[in-house]
């Protein structure tokens, strides 16, 4: 009995619940499945098509992604002979893990956080910076020119977006005088971060698009140019994993955007809904806006994206830091 109660204690621990349910794996999985459906549906409707339909017709084909996932699971994984096999097989798993890892320090509500730390923002940046390396490694391990070019492009993009991603978070850290997510959210009572520093929000949002290779920065895996970029050689469930990893990363970054700029679980009015539901709902809306851009934009060239990164968004992010400093000086 003693062991049983101990096991229960471990399972019902808040950190474990946070890691497994909200905002961890389960929520991420559900949101990712939903967001891919939403993305396909939105792109279809903007192009005056119908989109996925025939799987669960009454619900508008919402289970299409589940069907796709099953198809990925049952198809035969093929490891090409020319690849570096260990790395090739390891990378999708690592990528999926590392994409979701930053969620460990991001809260969904006051208590639903895996690791409560004062340096949440810093830890998030550190954890989020690992994934691009894995993508580059995946491109290298595939031993294919498209994968190689895709990996290289990811490297180029990394050099451009990481800077303004970090700068916009720096602006927030200066503005609230803390690196702790929960304190940042609590100090947004009444006035969300996006209103105080919209430029930081904009540059963070664009960095989000760039780092998850959403349109218009879908450069590393530009399908019409380099097949699938670093993931060209991947098939069956391995491809499912790398595709899912990208959306997991989008989810984590949207969650951070919600926490930092949209006040997390804070609302201007009071409604009797659990805090984490509000956070997840806001996150989902941010994700929808991010995937909606697929239907709007064409793709930038790599040099254009780098110019935008260094010549336009870097000064913009610097400006946002300046705004934060000024706001702090005024005493808000």
């Amino acid at each position: 009995m003693n062991i049983l109660s101990q096991i229960l204690e471990i399972i019902l621990n808040r950190s474990v619940i946070a890691a497994v349910i909200v905002p961890g794996v389960l929520t991420a999985l559900v949101l990712v499945i939903l967001i891919i459906w939403v993305e396909r549906k939105i792109a279809a409707r903007v192009q005056m098509r119908i989109g996925p339909l025939y799987v669960t017709r009454r619900l508008g084909g919402i289970l299409q992604l589940v069907a796709d996932a099953i198809r990925f699971l049952v198809s035969e994984p093929i490891v090409p002979a020319t690849t570096d096999k260990l790395f090739y097989v390891m990378m999708p798993i690592l990528l999926l893990l590392l994409s979701l890892l930053p969620v460990a320090v991001v809260p969904a509500s006051q208590s639903l956080i895996v690791i409560k730390t004062e340096y949440g923002l810093l830890a998030f940046i550190a954890l989020a910076a690992i994934t691009p390396m894995v993508i580059m490694l995946a491109g290298w391990a595939s031993n294919n020119k498209f994968s190689y070019i895709g990996g290289l492009r990811e490297g180029f993009m990394l050099l451009s977006y990481e800077v303004y991603l970090f700068m916009s978070l720096l602006a927030i850290a200066i503005l609230y005088g803390t690196l702790d997510f929960i304190r940042i959210i609590n100090s947004q009572e009444g006035f969300w971060g996006i209103l105080l520093n919209p430029i930081a929000a904009l540059s963070f949002f664009i960095a989000m698009l760039t780092s998850t290779s959403r349109f218009p920065f879908e450069i590393p895996d530009a399908e019409s140019e380099i097949v699938m970029g670093p993931f060209t050689e991947y098939n069956s469930i391995m491809y499912g994993l790398v595709m899912g990893a990208n959306y997991f990363r989008l989810y984590v970054l949207s969650l951070v955007f919600t926490d930092v700029f949209l006040g997390g679980w804070l609302l201007p009015f009071k409604i009797p809904i659990p805090n984490f539901v509000i956070t997840i709902a806001k996150t989902f809306i941010v994700m929808i806006v991010a995937v909606f851009l697929r239907a709007v934009y064409p793709r930038y060239r790599i040099d254009q994206a780098l110019v935008i990164g260094w010549e336009k968004l870097f000064p913009l992010a610097s400006l946002s830091v300046l705004i934060s400093v000024l706001l702090k000086g005024v005493g808000i």
Partner: protein
């Protein structure tokens, strides 16, 4: 600097299109209404035919072949695996024996059935129509 107006315009256009009705036709369940001079399968009126073989000569896909009927005269038969529905045979027919039907879904279970002799034309059409009626399409 950054073309803010252009970006906003692009986004608003996309939002506008998001709420328009899709123009896709869900084909087997939904059909478009056929226009007046629609070129579907080709029907033969054996009473009007004057056995001139002009249709077989004009056919660019060589789909029409003349078959000898019981009365010892030649009538055109069609091979739908070759027919391109161009309508040349109908245009050239001096006695208006050939005509288009609006039905166009030529589906058979094997290639041999695609070849239709003059007497089989109507039967062929009926069989195909019956098969498609099972789905009960909505006409849009």
């Amino acid at each position: 600097m950054i073309d803010v107006v252009g970006h906003l315009k692009a986004i608003f256009t996309a939002v506008k299109y998001l709420f328009l009705r899709p123009i896709t036709v869900k084909y087997p369940e939904e059909r478009l209404k056929k226009p007046k001079n629609y070129r579907g399968v080709i029907l033969l009126d054996m009473k009007k035919c004057i056995h001139c073989s002009l249709c077989a000569r004009i056919c660019p896909a060589a789909a029409i072949k003349m078959y000898k009927h019981k009365d010892g005269k030649l009538y055109p038969g069609l091979d739908y695996s070759r027919c391109i529905f161009c309508g040349f045979c109908i245009d050239i027919c001096p006695s208006f024996a050939l005509s288009h039907d609006k039905f166009h879904e030529v589906v058979t279970s094997n290639l041999k059935d695609m070849k239709v002799t003059p007497t089989q034309t109507l039967e062929f059409l009926r069989k195909n129509e019956e098969r498609l009626k099972e789905i009960e399409p909505k006409i849009r």
